[in-house]
């Protein structure tokens, strides 16, 4: 191995608002770093090739696939997992709407759903149901049949728009 390439990489980033350091193998993806090294098991890993969306988290303000980003690439990044999004209360209304509408059963897809939906809601306005569906097309749910999830998103978008107008 030449000097420039490393098989273990030192990284420093913020996770859920806290500074974190680590030394990661080159091939370690970000979701394993968060779950296995930091014990943040809120965000899930499933297919590990970008198809299911269970690993969706926020990196530098955008929703991304945690399984399709290396931990080494997150050096200097600002990462938010479900734990942080929950603790700060930014998606409290959305989480309440999920419970109220039965938008989860086993809950495996839920952390990724919430992270994807947060990005859509942050864009503002009230997206129509087709837009909500399209935005969530990369998040698989094997339990709910999606309808209740769309209902929850729509109700929160409307409630937030109402508050903004009030």
């Amino acid at each position: 191995m030449t000097e420039a390439f490393r098989d273990r990489i030192d990284i420093a980033l913020t996770v859920n608002g806290e500074a974190v350091e680590g030394r990661v193998p080159a091939g370690r993806h970000l979701i394993d770093f968060l779950r296995l090294d930091l014990g943040l098991t809120g965000s899930h890993a499933s297919c590990e090739h970008g198809v299911c969306g269970a690993c969706t988290i926020h990196v530098d303000g955008q929703a991304v696939r945690g399984c399709l980003m290396l931990a080494a690439q997150a050096d200097g990044a600002e990462v938010w997992t479900l734990e942080g999004l929950t603790e700060t209360g930014v998606i409290r209304d959305l989480q309440d709407a999920f419970v109220e509408r039965n938008a989860l059963q086993c809950g495996y897809c839920t952390p990724g759903m919430l992270a994807s939906i947060k990005e859509l809601l942050d864009m503002g306005g009230v997206p129509d149901r087709a837009t909500i569906r399209e935005h969530l097309s990369g998040n698989y749910c094997r339990c709910t049949g999606y309808e209740a999830i769309i209902d929850a998103v729509e109700s929160v978008a409307k409630a937030r728009a109402g508050e903004a107008a009030a």
């Binding site: 191995m1 091939g27 090739h49 696939r65 399984c67 399709l68 980003m69 399209e134």
Partner: protein, 277 residues
């Protein structure tokens, strides 16, 4: 599964990236958005790669009009292409493509350079760049060179990029007055790779039609273009079906893809002219 990488290095700039590739003894692998490469690594389709992470080279990202062309940096992300005003003005075909590529979270990291370099036969951007008659800019140890889109796509996942080279940018002609673009495809679910898809570009000089997911690389449908220029739309549909040689796989049979390509051309022409072909 878990990826096994040989090593990782973050490139500061293009020169550094080229040095790293040169040091990697043939195992060097450019890492851009990672949306195809990391998936392949996780599935162990690719192991032992010496990853050269170019994703932070700021010079390679962004869109500009330069020397009478639209220049798109290799690291410009799908999501950026979808919202960039210069792309919307000069290459609306690419904006249409973005809506069909994967899902929002993947579009936030995937890059146009990665899409062209990866050269998936079902990918949208390669067919768009071919339809627009674009040029691919490469930089290697020997310097820079340009490859016309017609010569760039070689086979499934294979391009004209040589060992040790990096794709740095794509240039496209600026939109001319009256020019129209349509991208149309059929996929089983939103965000899936297409079963078949078409790009149609109409310029004063004539039509350019490309088909994707119907062969090992995007096809410039010369016979169909010739028929369209002659005003023979029915002939163009027949010509297109005759000049493609689509594969059969678990997604669709060759016969279905061939049929679909013709249907898509009819619909694309309808979109283009507002008339029923």
């Amino acid at each position: 599964m878990k990826a096994l990488a040989g090593g990782y290095a973050r490139a500061r700039d293009v020169t550094h990236a080229l040095d790293l590739l040169a040091q990697a003894d043939g195992m060097g692998r450019v890492l851009a958005g990672g949306q195809s490469l990391i998936a392949a690594m996780n599935m162990r389709l690719s192991t032992g790669d010496m990853l050269v992470d170019i994703s932070r080279i700021a010079d390679l990202r962004g869109v500009a009009v330069e020397d009478g062309c639209l220049r798109i940096g290799a690291l410009t992300r799908h999501a950026d292409i979808g919202t960039d005003p210069l792309v919307a003005t000069h290459a609306p075909l690419l904006v249409q493509a973005v809506h069909h590529i994967a899902h929002a979270a993947i579009r936030n990291r995937g890059t146009i350079g990665g899409s062209l370099a990866h050269a998936d036969p079902a990918a949208e951007f390669p067919a768009c760049v071919l339809a627009l008659g674009g040029t691919i800019h490469l930089q290697g140890p020997e310097g820079v060179r340009q490859v016309a889109a017609e010569d760039f796509f070689v086979d499934v996942f294979e391009t004209a990029i040589e060992e040790g080279e990096i794709l740095t940018a794509i240039t496209l002609p600026l939109l001319e007055a009256g020019e129209r673009h349509v991208l149309i495809e059929t996929a089983r679910r939103s965000g899936d790779y297409a079963l078949a898809g078409l790009c149609v570009v109409k310029r004063a000089a004539g039509h350019r039609v490309t088909a994707f997911s119907v062969g090992p690389r995007p096809v410039l449908a010369m016979a169909a273009m010739e028929r369209l220029d002659a005003g023979d739309t029915a002939g163009a549909v027949d010509a297109l079906r005759a000049e493609i040689d689509p594969p059969s796989d678990t997604q669709a049979s060759a016969a279905y893809r061939r049929h679909l390509a013709g249907v898509l051309l009819t619909r694309a022409l309808h979109d283009l002219t507002g008339e029923t072909a």
